[in-house]
Symmetry: C2
Subunit: 208 residues, 2 copies
């Protein structure tokens, strides 16, 4: 599993001319780092003197961000699999009519997977952005900058995953799905662009 490799090895593979891992995997890692930082803010706040009143909420935010972190971490490998699947479909033989038709179907199936994977990443990142607001508002001030880095990571992961949706939707034959995915993505991008800047400003003002 790619996320069991050392950070440096992952970075070497990202930098190489091999097609995977690429931006989709980087997006999933940024999303997972965002979720991890929100968990960190909650974990530091839980049990901190003077923060007893927010403890139940910090626990609930942490439980949600940890679930999202697990999902986003799994998406690093899922993105590699989706992209490799798409490349394999494009390499299928196309000498006869039957081969051509089988290849076209395989490409469509793989394109759907290669669109759904970054869509799932985008949705999870939007949830991390929403959680970051609660962490930034109520978390211990000593780690509030970590909530700021968390929200920026999550929003950038969302925009990055979005690029991988935009690459694939033009080739999808299922136009109803393509349009619905694009519309959903654009709503997530709009909402989170606004939300993440508000959270970032809140963090900046709490830093003094």
């Amino acid at each position: 599993m790619i996320t069991q490799r050392p950070v440096e090895t992952f970075l070497d593979e990202l930098a190489s001319g091999a097609p995977t891992p690429g931006g989709g995997s980087a997006a999933a890692i940024m999303g997972a780092m965002g979720a991890a930082l929100i968990s960190m803010v909650c974990n530091v706040t839980i049990g901190k003197k003077g923060h007893e009143a927010v403890e139940p909420e910090m626990k609930s935010v942490r439980d949600e961000s940890e679930k999202l972190r697990v999902r986003l971490t799994a998406m690093v490998a899922e993105d590699v699999a989706a992209f490799d699947g798409l490349m394999a479909a494009y390499r299928l033989p196309k000498a006869t009519e039957e081969e051509k038709s089988r290849r076209a179907m395989a490409i469509q199936t793989s394109l759907l997977a290669a669109t759904e994977t970054p869509m799932a990443c985008a949705r999870a990142c939007a949830q991390v952005v929403a959680l970051s607001k609660r962490a930034a508002e109520k978390g211990y001030a000593g780690v509030i900058s970590d909530a700021g880095v968390g929200v920026l990571s999550a929003n950038t992961a969302l925009r990055s995953a979005g690029l991988n949706v935009y690459i694939n939707v033009p080739s999808l034959r299922d136009r109803a799905y393509a349009e619905a995915a694009t519309a959903e993505l654009e709503q997530l991008l709009d909402t989170c662009a606004r939300e993440s800047e508000l959270v970032f400003e809140m963090v900046r003002s709490r830093l003094g």
Copy 2:
């Protein structure tokens, strides 16, 4: 070394209530991922048919982004060391006047290191943003979304490193240094906010 640990272990440590690694290390990893993705775009373009004319420039961009990747990867551990050093200084004894004065000096030395580390990260990320423009303009269209993820990562890493500068400068006694660092940071933030959105738009338009 922290970057020799598996990606999943790094994420577990980031999420934990331990003070390090935190947002500063996450910023350095985002910067290193940004540099890695710029290298990837260049590596895929080098040797690609029809891209012979841009090959010398792609090699030069790749050599620079690889140097920045090495530096940013090293900053993951440097950020941990700087933060741990600062925490250690705050824990020094302060019973006598001599102890108080020695502690205050140690805190100032550590604060300088804990400001210079994210400043170095911010500078390196600004260079990655500048390189991303050349990669996005001239890189092979099939991996252009990776240049988009790269520029977003690098700019977000810069903003994240910036938060770690803002935390520390108010406590610095060397006001001339503090003001110079803040002014330099703000210039980097302004320039790269504009540049990175231009590169992102260029990528979006090349995606069709």
